[in-house]
C-alpha cells in the first residue's frame, strides 16, 4: 500500500465533539438522476452541524452557508470523478471541533483519474488560491473548456478553509482518494 499526500492534508484524528457520516452509492443511478441529492444532502449536513454552534455565535449564517457550499462541492466532485466501475460507496464524514469543522470525503478513483488529479494538484497546490482562480478563469474563457478546481479555490479564498488530499494505492486497481477540508469557526 502506497500513500501520497497533497496540500494541507494531516493524518491526525479529529477530536470531535459531534460528528456525522453519510454514505452514497454513486453508481446505482445515472448522475443526472442523483444530482439534486448533492444539494439536499449538503443543506442537511449544514443544518445539522450548525445546530451545535452556540446560539449567539455571530457568524452562524455565514458558517451555515460555508458548510453547505463545501459539502455540495465535495459531493459533486465525488459523483463526477469516482470510478463508477468499482461500485464502491462514497462517504462524507464531518467532525465538529471547538474551533473548526473537518470534512472528510472518501471515494474510489481509476488510474486515469489519479493521473489527471495529480496534474491538477501540482498546479493548484503551488499557486496562491486567488491567482489560481484568475488564471483558471482566463484560461477557461480563452479555450472554452471546463475549468477545474474553482470549488477548491473558492473554499480557500472565500471561506479561509484549508484543503488536503491523500491518494492511497491498494491492491490494483483499488485507488482511494481522501479529500479533507478544514473550515475555521
Amino acid at each position: 500500500m502506497q500513500t501520497e499526500n497533497f496540500g494541507d492534508f494531516t493524518l491526525e484524528q479529529p477530536s470531535a465533539e459531534e460528528c456525522l457520516s453519510l454514505s452514497f452509492s454513486p453508481s446505482a443511478r445515472p448522475l443526472r438522476d442523483r444530482w439534486r441529492n448533492n444539494g439536499l444532502s449538503a443543506n442537511f449536513v449544514s443544518d445539522y452541524m450548525t445546530t451545535f454552534l452556540p446560539s449567539d455565535h455571530s457568524e452562524r449564517e455565514e458558517i451555515k452557508t460555508a458548510v453547505s457550499y463545501i459539502a455540495n462541492e465535495l459531493l459533486e466532485n465525488a459523483m463526477k470523478f469516482c470510478d463508477h466501475s468499482a461500485n464502491k460507496a462514497v462517504t462524507l464524514h464531518l467532525d465538529l471541533e471547538k474551533d473548526r469543522i473537518i470534512f472528510t470525503l472518501i471515494n474510489r478513483i481509476s488510474a486515469e483519474q489519479k493521473q489527471n488529479l495529480k496534474v491538477f494538484l501540482n498546479d493548484f497546490c503551488s499557486m496562491d488560491p486567488m491567482d489560481y482562480f484568475v488564471f483558471q478563469m482566463e484560461k477557461n474563457a480563452e479555450e472554452d473548456t471546463e475549468s477545474s478546481g474553482v470549488g477548491f479555490a473558492t473554499m480557500r479564498n472565500d471561506y479561509n478553509a484549508q484543503v488536503g488530499w491523500s491518494i492511497t494505492d491498494g491492491e490494483s486497481p483499488e485507488i482511494d482518494l481522501t479529500t479533507r477540508v478544514y473550515l475555521p469557526l
Binding site: G39, M130, E138, T154
Partner: protein, 111 residues
Amino acid sequence: MTNIQGDGYSVCEEGNGIAINGALRLNSMDEYKTIQDVLIEFATKNNNQIEIDLTRLQLLNSSGITMLSKFVIHCRKSEIKVIMKWDQNISWQGKSLKNLQRLMPSLELIS
C-alpha cells in the same frame, strides 16, 4: 421576454436586466450555457449594458461561479457595462462577487 424556470431557480427578464433567483446548482458548464446565452443576448440587445439582480439568489455552486466569470470576461472584452445587485445578508455573495472584479475591474457591484 426571457424566462427560464428550473428546479429551484428562475432566470427572468426584469426592467433593465435579468434577475437570477433561487438555488442554482446545475451540473456542468453545458447546463449553464443556456443562462449565459440569455445574459449575453440581453446585454447585446440592450445597448451593451446589463443589470443582473442576484438579491434573491441564495446558493450558487462553483460551476455557476465559473459561468458568471466567463460572462464578465466576455463583457470586459466586448466593452459591455455590467452592474450586479447583491444582498449583504446572503453571505457567499459579498465574497464571491468581489472576486469577479479581479476579472473585470469596471464591474459595478450594488448592495
